[in-house]
């Protein structure tokens, strides 16, 4: 679907966020970027979304151009003045699609995330987990082939996070989307992904890759399999090696 070759990003303040990054995103996979904070995960994701340009190297898209993309941030990033329905309408609205014409897509997207009954609510009436669901519904409303998620569940409690992990895998399978996911949680990355790219900081780069060969979606019992345990161990190990000496303190 996408190849990043020799991609680098140096900011004007002299920080080299990414150095010569080579990464392929394959159609249909669930790829996770795992790494300590500051290693350039967000920068890589924003580059894929076209929100920031590489200062070296290039991105090559399979179809020749960037496909429709859904983006989910760490914060729900909803418009507080708009109802849930109008928040999910946003991507369509910005394309000039009227509320009436968009209604079916919006209702579908809300049903997908289990919030069909909350269309009229305002964001502040919702819990953290529900807000994140709205954010996911908004990202899915255009049915993008590629979904980018930047630590979307990091601020949620563990029970909510587990529930959303399962829902995310179900949605991904239903929609057949490709997902690039960012996290610094080893367990979350192993549970969700078909492939993990472990990154190290200063400068940001990929140090190793881990394949998780179990099919998607997975259930809670996957957390007790030998494969899961072995991959968690491998990912922890890779992450430890990725940490620079001062990070380990």
């Amino acid at each position: 679907m996408l190849a990043l070759s020799g991609v680098g990003k140096a900011f004007s303040n002299g920080i080299v966020a990414l150095a010569a990054l080579d990464l392929e995103v394959r159609r249909g996979e669930f790829l996770t970027l795992l790494g300590p904070s500051g290693c350039g995960k967000s920068t890589a994701l924003r580059m894929i979304a076209g929100l920031t340009e590489p200062s070296a190297g290039a991105l090559t898209w399979a179809g020749g151009e960037r496909p429709e993309i859904g983006f989910v941030f760490q914060e729900p990033t909803l418009m507080p003045w708009a109802s849930v329905f109008n928040n999910v309408w946003l991507p369509l609205r910005l394309r000039g699609i009227s509320k009436a014409a968009a209604a079916a897509s919006i209702t579908d997207a809300l049903a997908l995330v289990g919030l069909a009954d909350f269309a009229k609510a305002y964001p502040r009436e919702l819990s953290g987990g529900m807000k994140m669901r709205v954010s996911i519904a908004r990202a899915l409303v255009l049915r993008p082939p590629l979904l980018l998620m930047d630590e979307p569940f990091a601020a949620l409690d563990e029970i909510t996070r587990f529930k959303l992990n399962d829902d995310l895998l179900r949605l991904k399978s239903e929609l057949g989307a490709t997902v690039v996911f960012v996290t610094h949680s080893v367990y979350e990355s192993v549970y969700l992904s078909t492939r993990i790219a472990v990154m190290a900081a200063r400068p940001g780069r990929i140090v190793s890759q881990i394949l998780i060969e179990a099919p998607l979606p997975r259930g809670e019992e996957f957390r007790t399999t030998a494969l899961y345990n072995e991959r968690c161990r491998a990912a922890s190990q890779a992450l430890m090696e990725a940490l620079s000496p001062e990070d380990r303190l």
Binding site: M79, W81, L94, R124
Partner: protein, 268 residues
């Protein structure tokens, strides 16, 4: 109705009743002191005399009230159009903001009472008074709206870019709604200042002004030692100020009640 809700409703009733009681007590005390001490009405008129003056002089006073209201709201309207317009222009380019913002600050920090006499020379008195009221109301609206337009969630800004939103869409759908609470704060301050500006400027215009606003009535009545009328005019000014404040507070509540933290209602 829950226990907590009834408690807070009771709390709101008290919020109204307590100040009214304090006010009535103060007025009664004032009336008593004036009567017991036999204070002459050209020094301090009793509240009852102020009230009867308000009624007997109503034809003159209402005309002046109307003039003052017209100046206050014309100036506020101009300040809203100018302040929001300039803030939107600032939001388009940091260079424009950097070039012009200092002048807005200079206008703000120079006391309007010091500018007023000059303006009276250059402009005809009614326009000068309007200009003064505009100058004081303009800045809080400009600076608050500028801040509001710049404080849209940067992730939302990115999201708008991701979906290919035009500058216009970004302004209408994102920056203006995000700026609304800031703008309303500026409007509440600007509304009060615009009334103050209208009064101060009219006093500064002094005898040069053939104006007939409430400030002019105060100057004229002081001159003639007609204290009851001075106090009646003061009452009208205070009531106008309070009404403006309450009006914009209500407007803020209506516009923001669904989403903004400042108007969050909660049970305890």
């Amino acid at each position: 109705m829950s226990e907590a809700a009834r408690g807070s409703a009771g709390g709101r009733v008290l919020d109204v009743i307590l100040p009214i009681l304090v006010f009535l007590a103060a007025v009664a005390g004032w009336e008593a002191v004036v009567r017991i001490r036999n204070i002459p009405h050209y020094l301090v008129p009793a509240p009852s005399l102020v009230a009867t003056t308000l009624v007997s002089d109503w034809p003159t006073l209402s005309g002046s009230l109307w003039v003052t209201l017209k100046v206050t709201f014309s100036a506020l309207f101009a300040a809203v159009v100018g302040g929001v317009g300039l803030a939107i222009l600032f939001a388009q380019s940091r260079w424009i903001e950097r070039s012009f913002y200092p002048f807005a600050v200079i206008l703000q920090v120079t006391p309007v009472i010091a500018i007023a006499p000059l303006l009276v020379i250059y402009l005809d008195p009614p326009t000068a008074v309007l200009a003064c009221a505009f100058i004081v109301a303009f800045f809080p609206i400009l600076s608050n709206t500028t801040l509001g337009l710049a404080s849209a969630d940067h992730n939302l800004v990115d999201l708008f870019k991701l979906y290919g939103a035009s500058r216009w869409q970004q302004l209408i759908r994102l920056r203006l709604p995000a700026a609304l609470p800031y703008f309303l704060g500026g409007l509440r301050v600007g509304g009060g200042l615009s009334l103050i500006g209208a009064i101060v400027a009219e006093i500064a215009a002094g005898t040069a002004g053939q104006g007939s606003g409430l400030a002019f009535r105060i100057v004229e009545s002081t001159f003639r030692q007609n204290m009851p009328r001075v106090f009646a005019a003061l009452v009208l000014i205070a009531v106008t100020g309070i009404t403006i404040f309450l009006f914009f507070t209500l407007l803020t509540h209506l516009l923001l009640r669904h989403w903004h933290e400042s108007v969050r209602r909660r049970d305890t």
